[in-house]
Amino acid sequence: MSKMLHTVNKSPFEHSALETCLRYARQGSSVLLIEDAVYAAARDTAVAQAVQEALKRVQLYALAPDVEARGMQNRVLDGVRLVDYEGFVDLVVEHNAVQAWL
Amino acid sequence: MTIEVNGQTFETDEEGYLTNREDWSEDVASEMARQDNCELSDAHWEVINFLREYYDEYQIAPAVRVLTKAIGKKLGADKGNSKYLYELYPYGPAKQACKYAGLPKPTGCV
């Protein structure tokens, strides 16, 4: 079983939540972007490089319903996996604990 | 609701807790106890004074477990048990003693 599932729900352009989360997320853990945090999954942004850097250590997911609601579905970075709510549930089950970076 | 003490009227909530902590005096505590058919002994006062000091220091009323331990430490091991506190305050040391001490009503969060 893998380790911690981190959830982030804030836009990286307004809050440091994702940056802080990535500082603490250990090798092999997972980060799920939900709500406004899905903007961090887009290509060609000011944070895209940091996100791609993070992908080397942690698996990043973005919640598809939130991505689609925000019209970002054609802009998602390679390597970020999309999940629906059932996929969210699976991630919770597959990890030992969940930490929300509110 | 209100409580009348020495000709002065103070506001309380529906369960008799003082609305304004500043209204507290020893006479207010005694009157609250009298209404509960309880006469405050030195032993009662020890607990009330302890609670008031604790609140002044930490801005919270201690949980019963914490109160018991702290009373034992301060007033002697024979008083640091819940049996002793419940004998003094049969309605529960948290609820009853806090009321007499003029502290906020415990929210009963467990």
């Binding site: 959830t7 729900n9 939900i34 709500e35 406004d36 319903p65 629906d84 709510y85 059932e86 969210f88 549930v89 699976d90 919770v92 089950v93 990890h95 604990a97 969940v98 929300a100 509110l102 | 609701m1 909530d13 529906e14 369960e15 929210t107 009963g108 969060c109 467990v110």
Partner: protein
């Protein structure tokens, strides 16, 4: 698996409550058990039955009540947070001498201990908030 959910934001202002609801629905659809949903901070407002959204909007409160009825969910509103924000059930209203209560069907008001208990009993606790 037994899942516990914590909701820290009220309905309509923040997406937290929507996310929590969709998550709960998906978990139930997958056969998991939701052992408790605990509402804290402004999240307690999810339990106000006086909420009246326009007809063309989701009814967040009603949606929780219906999910609770269908799956026997335990929806717990924190008493301390609820008292601060004016959410009451009948007995609380009576205790505080208020002339109305406003808790929605399927919700109950209880202590913070219920959150800790949910953390102990559930296999995972998932927090939704600001």
């Amino acid at each position: 698996m037994k899942l516990g959910i914590m909701v820290n934001e009220g309905p309509y202002t923040h997406q937290a409550s929507d996310s929590a609801y969709q998550f709960a629905k998906a978990a139930l659809a997958k056969g998991h058990e939701i052992s408790r949903v605990f509402f804290y901070h402004d999240g307690v407002n999810n339990g106000s039955r006086l909420t009246v959204p326009p007809q063309d909007e989701r009814n967040i409160v009603k949606r929780w009540s219906e999910l609770a009825a269908e799956h026997k969910l335990d929806l717990v509103v924190c008493i301390a947070a609820a008292q601060r924000r004016g959410l009451m059930d009948k007995s609380e209203a009576k205790r505080h001498g208020k002339d109305a209560d406003n808790i929605a069907p399927g919700f109950r008001i209880s202590g913070l201990g219920q959150l800790i208990e949910a953390g102990i009993e559930a296999d995972r606790l998932v927090v939704f908030g600001d």
